[in-house]
């Protein structure tokens, strides 16, 4: 580096003298200046302490002896004193460097920003975003109009008959024909679930999500929801993984890293696994329940209740301190179309390439299972549980799908519903259960990596029976009350 005298922040007397005596004692290599190592030691940086202990065997004791003396000279933690000095230095530098033209006119953006964080208007705006963004665009347009078109016209009238025709002429064996175009066929089940049901829903969700995230709404939502989240041991910081969870729970579980404490990360991971439906699942459920306002309200109510209740209990049961919350609130911006499209495209591409092979494997697996009778055995195990919560036995196949992927399970429900096999109270019960039910394989994999094997297994062992228990309760309550949906 060139020999220009670099900027130095001077601290208060006792701190400065501690810094110079610690610096003199340091012999090791840290990749940063000795002065910085000393500063971090004064601020009780655990990582640096460990490194110093490793590298400075004899001097470590003497260094340690310096610390309490400095600390006792101040009424505040040293971190605070040091940060204040630094801030003062920054302010001094900036005084002569920055000029601000007074612009008292805050404008519309500022007004809107405040309205988004105000408890009253904020809730109204939130409902507006949910209604138009999620319900109308993803649920009604994506999962309704688009899915109808692609499923019944593109696949139903064009692709499936065409492929069946080809299969019938060139494949002589029924069994092999079934692999491609049968009940669990690669084309008729795998490809059509992935393209006809999942793709339009996830696509519309990603468009909305990209617009919302680019506008700067999410941090404001975090501010708004912070208070509610405090009650379940989380802070507003958890809003981002939660909202992302509505896109893909797997991705959201990775993003829990932004949270401050281990406790917060565990609670968020649990709630993501249990009560946050991913976009594909959400879209399908909105689509099959949207015909009836009551069914949809019951589903929303039960899931919200479970979310809050489990969060609350978990925050009491898992030891540790409550989180503090501080988040940058970036300015509101009009999203750039090109950025929204690029993001939607890259997410869709990721999603699709992850999902498609999976759906195809699942088709093969199910076809094999059907052929060998294993499928019947497994569904017969699931059947009593499914029947116990008031569902028709055929629904057990959808739950089996759900083991593979959340969206696959929901797509199974969609099929049963359109076939008329699942309506009314059982439909709501099935929707509730499959939403709560088991995280998909990918999510489980990420949970293992991020939270460790014990926590991941504990969460799964809790989620599985809990989902059915809630389904059972909902069924019991609705049938006892004689609710007809």
């Amino acid at each position: 580096m060139p020999e220009i005298k670099s900027l130095r922040t001077d601290y208060d007397g006792p701190i400065e003298s501690a810094l110079s005596s610690i610096s003199k004692l340091l012999r090791g290599h840290y990749g940063i200046s000795k002065r910085m190592v000393a500063l971090l030691l004064l601020q009780e940086d655990a990582e640096i302490e460990r490194q110093v202990k490793e590298q400075e065997d004899e001097n470590y004791k003497s260094i340690q002896n310096i610390l309490p003396e400095v600390k006792s000279s101040y009424g505040h933690p040293l971190t605070y004193i040091i940060a204040m000095t630094r801030q003062q230095k920054v302010n001094n530098v900036l005084d002569s460097v920055i000029a601000t033209r007074d612009k008292s006119d805050k404008g519309f953006a500022e007004l809107l920003s405040r309205a988004m964080m105000n408890p009253l208007s904020g809730i109204i705006i939130l409902f507006g975003v949910l209604y138009f963004g999620l319900y109308q665009f993803v649920g009604v347009f994506g999962a309704g109009t688009l899915v109808d078109f692609i499923e019944s016209i593109v696949f139903g009238e064009w692709i499936n008959p065409w492929v069946s025709g080809i299969a019938n002429t060139i494949i002589p064996f029924q069994i092999l024909r079934d692999l491609f175009v049968g009940e669990y066929g690669l084309v008729t089940l795998g490809l059509s679930y992935a393209i006809a049901i999942i793709l339009p829903i996830v696509g519309t969700f990603f468009i909305i999500f990209s617009i919302i995230e680019d506008s700067g709404y999410l941090p404001r939502l975090a501010m708004l929801i912070d208070r509610i989240f405090k009650a379940i041991g989380l802070s507003g910081r958890a809003v981002i993984p939660m909202v992302l969870g509505f896109g893909c729970d797997t991705m959201a579980t990775i993003v829990t890293r932004t949270q401050e404490t281990r406790r917060e990360r565990i609670i968020t991971t649990l709630l993501l696994a249990l009560a946050i439906p991913c976009s594909a699942q959400l879209g399908v459920i909105l689509a099959i329940l949207s015909g009836d306002g009551w069914s949809l309200s019951i589903w929303v109510g039960v899931i919200t209740l479970v979310f809050l209740l489990v969060g609350f209990v978990a925050s009491k049961a898992i030891p540790g301190r409550g989180p503090s919350f501080y988040m940058e609130v970036p300015p509101l911006r009009l999203p750039k179309l090109s950025n929204v499209l690029t993001k939607t495209y890259s997410r869709l591409q990721w999603y699709f390439f992850e999902v498609l092979p999976f759906f195809l494997y699942a088709s093969v697996f199910l076809w094999l299972g059907d052929l060998t009778g294993v499928l019947d055995i497994i569904t017969s195990w699931l059947e009593p549980v499914v029947v116990l919560i008031g569902l028709p036995p055929e629904a057990s196949i959808a739950f089996l799908y759900g083991f593979f992927r959340r969206d696959f399970g929901a797509a199974g429900l969609y099929d049963l519903n359109t076939a008329g096999a699942l309506v009314g109270v059982p439909l709501v019960v099935a929707a509730v259960t499959i939403t709560l039910f088991i995280p998909c394989i990918a999510q489980f994999g990420v949970m293992l990596k991020e939270r460790g094997i014990k926590t991941a297994i504990a969460i799964t062992l809790f989620v599985f029976p809990f989902a059915f228990a809630v389904g059972y309760l909902v069924n019991l309550i609705l049938t006892t009350l004689g609710v007809a949906l």
């Binding site: 580096m1 060139p2 005298k5 670099s6 900027l7 130095r8 922040t9 990749g31 940063i32 200046s33 002065r35 910085m36 500063l39 971090l40 601020q43 940086d45 990582e47 971190t79 940060a83 801030q87 920054v90 302010n91 530098v93 900036l94 002569s96 460097v97 920055i98 000029a99 601000t100 033209r101 007074d102 612009k103 680019d214 506008s215 700067g216 999410l218 941090p219 981002i240 991705m251 990775i254 993003v255 890293r257 932004t258 949270q259 401050e260 940058e328 970036p330 750039k336 950025n339 690029t342 993001k343 890259s346 997410r347 990721w350 390439f353 992850e354 994999g445 990420v446 293992l448 990596k449």
Partner: protein
């Protein structure tokens, strides 16, 4: 960002039991010289990264999109660099896991140039980290990003004066539109040559 592609890797890595993803990789992969990008969350680090490397990592308008370390290559005036985008950090004294990852990266990988990206509208909250990077004796270039929003907020910055005060090179940019990126590349290569 988390690039969604990276998640696939994460998932497949998870399946193969490869645990190296968690830790910052310590090896110089190609022995390339490195440029480390650091700064508070949501100041445009990932846009700068995309701009330097020509990659497409996800960029969002909220803090904490980058929870992982993104890597790419940049060619500046014929020299190749490895560019490393870090998760956001507020201070050199880490509180969250992402901040720990960001600092560990600076300590272990020793980038030739550390690009501190800041939101110019909030210099008084951004510069304490610059001060700390200077105190740590690291090779810092300060990048005043979001100059357009700063200007429209009615704030002007005397860049020459700030450069003298801080004793580090300063480059103003509007990364989203590419303004100032050529000057930034130039300063990086000058700095790396010294």
């Amino acid at each position: 960002m988390v690039s969604w592609r990276k998640i696939i890797n994460t998932i497949s890595l998870g399946a193969s039991g490869d645990g190296c993803h968690e830790k910052v990789k310590l090896t110089d992969r190609d022995g390339l010289r490195k440029i480390g990008i650091v700064g508070n969350p949501n100041v445009g680090k990932s846009v700068i990264f995309n701009n330097l490397t020509g990659a497409h990592v996800t960029v969002s308008n909220y803090p904490g999109t980058t929870v992982d370390v993104a890597r790419g290559k940049a060619k500046i005036e014929g020299s190749e660099f490895e560019v490393v985008d870090t998760p956001g950090m507020y201070s050199f004294l880490p509180i969250t896991e992402e901040e720990r990852v960001a600092r560990l990266l600076l300590l272990t990988e020793k980038p030739e140039v550390i690009l501190h990206v800041v939101d110019t509208r909030n210099l008084e909250r951004m510069l304490p980290l610059t001060l700390q990077l200077i105190e740590a004796g690291l090779p810092v270039i300060l990048n005043l990003n979001m100059m357009d929003e700063t200007e429209s907020a009615g704030v002007t910055v005397d860049i020459d004066k700030l450069e003298k005060e801080l004793t580090v090179p300063i480059v103003p940019t509007v990364a989203t539109s590419g303004r100032g990126m050529d000057a930034l590349r130039k300063r990086i290569i000058e700095y790396a040559r010294n």
